[in-house]
Subunit: 349 residues, 2 copies
């Protein structure tokens, strides 16, 4: 919208009009100035801050994914987000050995100069956060940064808010719900250069993170385990399908070596009003001219089953930039919805 | 020698002459008729028999390796050797889980129609033999088939002699020594279509079997295990280097599928005097003419470090058949020795 309408203010003013155009039954209301100010005050009170896509502290790897969050709320040491990160994730009901391995692995990655990111769940996640607490530990949570979940992780939540960082896409006070977790997982893998899976059962959430990591072009690492332990079924399956076998932090660091050595590009600081709009691909006049016919082109190709945006681009003979703008309008109009992995489907109206 | 001299009798008569030609200090004596007859009588008494390279019962896969044993002594159901085999090997000090897995795996392979071959060692080997005892279990031992080793496997030795088969390259009564084990391992992998390694420490004997299996073109399978267990270091390392990750018998059977379905070629029965000499590549006159100059060609390229026969063939511009004959003569003359994997080096004289 920034690209299409030139500024955040102009974009916000367009929202009701775009929503009407889509004949959406529900009213779409942008946040009001007073609501926004109240949220910023609450953030300030909680000791948290917002980081916007395009700002220097916004994690570079995450900024590059298709569906990068526009806003991240961060509690704790936001400067950790600038450093190279590796995700360590796994089973909630992890074995004692799995927890110990996870903690040692995280500590070893920390000594190697890497910030460890995980999901602040029980089991493997908690052990990974603990292991990297001294060197740099970032938790991405499914709810708001101020909501402790699960309750048993209260102590770890407090420690991370002080010595590490807690990151959320959703606003303060949001209670995490089942549907939030896959969206959260894309941020974990998106922030990281690689994802290490320690003890994951078949069809577990950690495998979703691993799949998202692959889609995002991240390296996937898995720790082998006994075939007699169902908690290792998923991680062994990742190995079977090409994940890098991991027995130590060194296995991860040596594989990521070239990525870790690359100095992050300094990015110019941007105002909140126009986060580096300059660097985005611009629409040209012909793209804009196509817009209205474009809606029909897209909608006739969509159904309840999700379709990849790339596939839509090919089938509609539109540029990727034009497609992005059209889909944004259709989303605002409530006509289409997005799945993680940049899949689009018709909204049930 | 059969190829060179036309018959077993003529070959035996040539041995002393060949040995003299190499200026070997020790006398090489072929077995005498009475010695041979005594051995056959002892075999008969022990309920064992000999199987010669080229005979129908000689395992087809083993016959194809470079350094296939000329004679196998078999105690028990020799007919098991005709069926497709898979080796299951691993740590002597295996974990309880490793033993259980090994036994279940062997039983599952047996149900899949495969004979399980192993080394009758403690731990993984013993468990594998037990699991496949009903369906078909073959032990290849480093000493003689009548020598129980280790003592704790006496019961299993007796069970295999009755319901399975015990196979040895060395004569009855031979006590196994450390140097016999790698030679024994080449027979285990050579008989098998694939080798499954369950729990193997770094630098363990099971890894030698795996390496020999690779050199023999066999599939190598490895069972994943916790990085915290040193008994899994070697097997995990095999996975890292491309072994097929194995969590069940089905993983092995599906990978070997095409090999298992191939009906074994019926081979014509041969007399002991001339085991299918007809099917061996014959030397032509020019090969024979090169022989004497060939000795020098080979010896000047050899030192104490082992060299692959293939490399010698390339460097000496000799045919593989001529090389085989020359090396045999040099071996008989005590000038060269062989390592497993068809490596040759100068004998220290």
């Amino acid at each position: 919208m920034l690209r299409r309408f030139g500024s955040a203010r102009a974009s916000l003013e367009m929202v009701p009009q775009l929503a009407r155009r889509g004949e959406r039954s529900k009213t779409v209301t942008a946040v009001t100035r007073s609501e926004a100010e109240a949220e910023l005050t609450a953030l300030h009170r909680a000791g948290a801050r917002m980081i916007f896509w395009g700002e220097p502290l916004y994690p570079g790897a995450l900024a590059a994914i298709d569906d990068a969050p526009t806003i991240l709320t961060v509690l704790g040491r936001a400067e950790l987000l600038e450093r190279p990160m590796v995700a360590v994730v796994g089973a909630r009901n992890a074995s004692a050995n799995g927890r110990r391995f996870s903690r040692d692995l995280a500590a070893s990655l920390g000594r190697g100069g890497v910030v460890v990111v995980s999901g602040l769940a029980r089991g493997i996640d908690a052990a990974a956060h603990l292991g990297a607490l001294e060197t740099g530990s970032v938790a991405v949570v499914a709810g708001g940064v101020d909501v402790v979940y699960p309750a048993e992780n209260r102590g770890l939540h407090e420690a991370l808010a002080r010595d590490g960082a807690i990151v959320a896409e959703l606003p303060l006070g949001t209670e995490p719900q089942a549907r939030h977790f896959p969206r959260r997982n894309r941020i974990i893998s998106g922030m990281a250069l690689g994802v290490v899976v320690v003890e994951a059962a078949a069809r577990s959430g950690s495998l979703i993170t691993a799949r998202l990591a692959l889609e995002q072009g991240r390296d996937v690492f898995a720790v082998p385990g006994s075939p007699l332990d169902p908690r290792c079924r998923g991680s062994n399956d990742l190995l079977r399908h090409g994940a890098t076998l991991t027995e130590s932090g060194e296995d991860v660091l040596s594989q990521l070596g070239p990525l870790l050595e690359r100095t992050p590009q300094p990015r110019p600081a941007q105002s909140v009003e126009t986060p580096n709009v300059q660097s985005w691909p611009r629409l040209d006049a012909s793209d804009l001219a196509k817009d209205d016919s474009g809606f029909e082109l897209i909608l006739e190709r969509l159904g309840p089953a999700p379709v990849a945006v790339d596939e839509l681009v090919r089938q509609c003979h539109l540029s990727a930039a034009a497609m992005a703008t059209l889909l944004l309008e259709l989303e605002l109009a409530g006509r289409v919805e997005r799945h993680p992995g940049n899949l689009i489907y018709c909204a049930s109206t």
